[in-house]
Every structure is written in C-alpha cells, then in structure tokens.
Amino acid sequence: MESNLSTRDKTWLGLAAIPIIIYSIIPIIWMLSLSLKPSGDLADGKFFPRHVSWTNYALILTGGAKDLFLPALANSVVVCLSATVISVVLATFAAYAIARLDFPGKKLILTTALAVSIFPVISLVTPIYNLWRAIGLFDTQIGLIIPYLSLTLPISIWTLSAFFKQIPWEMEQAAQVDGATSWQAFRKVIIPLATPGVFTTAIISFFIAWNDFVFAISLTSERARTVPAALAFFTGASQFEQPTGAICAAAVIVTIPVVVLVLFFQRRIVAGLTSGAVKG
C-alpha cells in the first residue's frame, strides 16, 4: 500500500486518530476502573478508582471463581477458533463458487444463508436443546460449534461473495489463458487477492461466536460453558449484590487475547492489491 501522502495529510490523520482512540477507549477504561474498585466504592460515581483493589482479579484467576472462569476461557477460545476456522474455510469455497462459477441454486444458497442467520435464536434453542440431549451433544464443545456455524457461515458467505465479486475477473481469466486449471487459478491468483476479505471474515466470525450468549447458556453445563455464559453464574457477596467488579474483571481478561489476535491480523486486512497486479 503506497502512502504517498504529504506530511501535512499525515499529520492531520495522526491528529484525527486521537479523538477516535479516546472515544473507543473510554468505556473500556471505565470497565477496567470498575474491575479495580473495591465493592464498597462501586457507587461513588468516580471515573477512576480511589483505591485500587485487585480482589476481583484474584477472585477469578486464583480464588473462588477460578473454577468457573478459567475453564470457560479455555472453552471460549477452542469453540470460537474452531467455529471460525471451519466457517471461513467452508465459506471461502462457497463464496468462490457463487461469485465465479455458474451453477443452479446460487441464489438459493445465498437466500438460505440469510434466512438461517436472521431467525431469532431464542426460538431455536429449545428444539436444539432437546435434539442435543437426545443424541448426546449437550454440554460438549462440538454441540456448541455446530450451532455457531449457523451463526457465522451466513455472514461469511455473503462477505466473501462480495469480495470475490469485487476482484477483477481479468486476473483469473489471464491465469487460465496462461494454462492454469480452475484450482490453480484459485490458489495462486484469487487467494492472495482475497486475503483482506478472508481475514475480515475471520475476525467477524470469531467475534460473533465470541459474543454469543443464548446458545452458550442453553446448550452447556459445567463442561463446555463459555465465558458469556459463565458470567451469568458469577455471584456477589450475597444473592442480592451484583458481581459487577468480577464481571468487568473477567471481561477485561477475556479481551486481552482478542486484542493480541487483532493486533496480529490487522495488517492482513489491508494487505491487498497493489496497482501493479491489476494492470500488469
């Protein structure tokens, strides 16, 4: 990506970044602050904690809630990564076929994808719960991955179809004229061009699965519970006290690996076309 911007443009952009970063970060710092406040201070109306207390983190990492939180974290990571990988792979194939090949039923696939993802999940859980209990998938990671695929596949297919559609047709044609098979054209020409789309789709799929609550709380019990569901089991000092601090601490911890993931992949999203490849 060329950046033949003038220094003036670069400075303006750099300055524009500041309010953007502030706007994105304030609620997160607030959450961090809530997690560091001792429970008595939660109602003091201050943005920053007056006394920093690590009890919430101790509670969820080494204390009473660790048996609830740490396995949930592991489950979340495994389930969401699996769902993302499977979903992106399958969606890439499907999207390529839809955008590039001619076969009957393309519209049907796209429509089905949409219909499946927009039906309210709350009415789907009980039948799936009953089905899973009958075949023994209740409270397993696979039992969660499969419904998550129904959440992530539709948007993955649509996003990737949109991307494949925007890739110039000439590139693949050129490759085929040069003697490549459809598969080789796909692998050597299309995949590098589709990288921004694939990584975008991967990140979005991951976050959709990461944030899901309804499936998680209904289809899991102690073994396969993920983090959003585990948060519903956190308890305060008594049943009438909200475990706000602990929940915020959990959310902060859970966000760290995700931030690392994003940091790693953000470059790929824009590592796209160079003008040479299109024209050349």
Partner: protein, 322 residues
C-alpha cells in the same frame, strides 16, 4: 469464456462445432459439479442445524402451548398471529425497534466510513489505531451493556458528573437517564453504536482496500474535490461491501436485545421486538406465542432484506459482467 468458444465455432466444420459444443457443456457441467461441491458443505451445515428448529418453531406457532402444561396444547391456527398483530405492545415495539435501527445504522455507517477512511490512509499510529478501533467489538455484549448502564446511572455513574462539569453546572447531577423513553433510547443507541461501529468500519475498510487507488489518483489529477471523489469514485466501487455491511448491520440492529434487556428491561416503553419474543417464550414459557412472535420478526427482517437487495441492485450471484 462463452464468447471465445462461440467465436471459435463460427469458422469450424459442423462436426468440430458439435464436438466443441459437447466440450462446452462438459465444461459447464464440470463447473456446476464443482460449484456444488464447493458450496455444498456450507449449505448442508447451515440447513442441517437450523432446518428442524425453524420448522419446529413455525409449527409450534400455530398452537397454544405452554412448556409447563404440554397436555393443554391446542391447535389454534393463526389465532396467535391475530393476537399479536392487534396488540398495542407489538406495534410500539416495532416502532421503537425501527427507530433504534434507523438511528444506529445511519450513524454507524457515517462513522464507520470515516473510521475506515482514516484507517486506510493513516501512517502513524497505524497499528494502534486499527487495533483500538476494533476493540469495542471484542467486548462481550452483556458486559458492555452493564458498563454503559453503570456509567449513566445516577449513583454509580460518572457521566452525570462529567456533563455537569462540562456544562459549568447547567446539567443536573441527578438526571435520571433511564427515567424516560427518549433518554433511555439515547443511551441504548449510544451503547449499540459504540459496540458495533467496528463491525461496519471493518467491512468498509476491507471494501475500501479493494478500491483501486489509481482511479482515485486519476480523479484527483482531473481536479475532482474530496467529496466528488468520494461519491463518484470510491463509494460506487465499494457497492458490494457497503451492501453487505449495511444489510447485516440492519438485520442485527433490528434484533437488538442485550442492551435493552439490561438497561431498561423494556420499561419506559422501550420494548423491542426481540424483548417481546423473549417475554413470551421465556417469562411465560408460552412456546406457541413466542414462536409466533419470532416468525413475525423473521418475516419483517426478510422484508428488510428484500428491500435492501433490490435497492442496491447488487447481485452477488451474478457472474458474468457487472
């Protein structure tokens, strides 16, 4: 591809022509087979998981069925739908949901586009900015809702204090944000916008990255202003990405639940359609009525999809030509 074959066929003998035609349809058939082999697994998985539950929900919506009283289940055909469509609460909920959807999607699109453009061109601090912009999307929805609720609560929140200071005391310290319909909606929308703009900006960024900068440069050389370049060069070339972003974001916005549930629970007339479905299905354990609400919600959202696809005139399935 077809044109090549046709051109080639004109000059050959009928036999060779037929052979080429046969080869063509072989190729077409191979293409079809490949197409279904590639797209098949995804299609099958999507259907396998949801076909039974969706059909089950459709079927149950024709009944009066309480989970705790299965023996009293009775077939009422469309009675549930009649009850829903004649209930004031339903129409209020639809109205509120439409309002939230419009506000959030429009704001998010504008904001998301701006963010995408900054992310696209920025040099320093590129990695930080792109990561930071995406972080809100990574926060678990329920926790985000709690955090925003606490931020604007009268006793535990800082927002009133800050606003009080910023307006030099004009803003009341004890303003109850969740005490009225529009103030509650304001916070709900703010929270929703904050959380999901990254989704929009991510899709728009990837679409933006595909726009050939040579076109932009050419337009600049021709003397076009920033806005002209935006409207005439950038946006049209991102049409597919914009459509997917807007479509999915609208679908999600219409089904908003977490923020409303946690912040107001539907009080102050802020019920949304998903909340109505939740109340029937879970609080009342009335599976029949709840399924009917879900089906209606589904139909409305399908309507939105149709409108979108037709308005954008982008056919993702169309292969040849643009």
């Amino acid at each position: 591809m077809t044109s090549l074959a046709e051109d080639a066929g004109h000059e050959a003998s009928p036999q060779a022509h037929r052979a080429r035609k046969a080869a063509l349809s072989d190729r077409a058939r191979a293409e079809r087979a490949l197409g279904w082999r590639l797209a098949g697994p995804a299609f099958v998985i999507m259907l396998a998981v949801t076909a039974y539950p969706i059909l089950n929900a459709l079927w149950l919506s024709l009944f009066n069925y309480r989970l705790t009283d299965p023996n009293a289940r009775s077939f009422v055909l469309l009675q549930n739908y009649v009850v829903i469509l004649t209930d004031g609460l339903w129409w209020t909920a639809v109205g509120i949901t439409v309002a939230i959807t419009l506000i959030t999607v429009v704001v998010e699109f504008v904001l998301g586009m701006a963010l995408a453009m900054v992310m696209n061109k920025i040099v320093i601090p590129r990695r930080t900015l792109r990561t930071v912009i995406l972080v809100p999307y990574a926060i678990i929805t329920v926790v985000s809702a709690f955090a925003w609720k606490y931020a604007f609560a009268v006793d535990s929140g800082f927002a009133n204090h800050w606003l009080h200071t910023l307006t030099f005391g004009a803003f009341p310290l004890t303003y109850d944000w969740f005490g009225g319909t529009w103030s509650s909606l304001a916070i709900i929308c703010l929270s929703e916008i904050w959380k999901t703009t990254p989704f929009m900006s991510l899709l728009l960024l990837a679409g933006l990255a595909q726009v050939d900068s040579a076109l932009d440069e050419a337009a600049k050389v021709d003397g076009a202003t920033f806005w002209q370049r935006l409207y005439k060069v950038t946006l049209p070339n991102m049409k597919a990405a914009i459509m997917v972003a807007l479509l999915f974001r609208t679908l999600d916005a219409f089904r908003i639940f977490d923020n409303v549930f946690i912040m107001t629970g539907g009080s102050q007339n802020t019920s949304t359609v998903s909340l109505v479905a939740y109340n029937q299905t879970i609080s009342r354990a009335e599976i029949g009525m709840g399924s009917a609400v879900s089906v209606l919600l589904f139909l409305i959202v399908v309507g939105i999809c149709v409108v979108f696809v037709k308005a954008f005139k982008v056919d993702l399935a169309q292969v040849k030509g643009d």
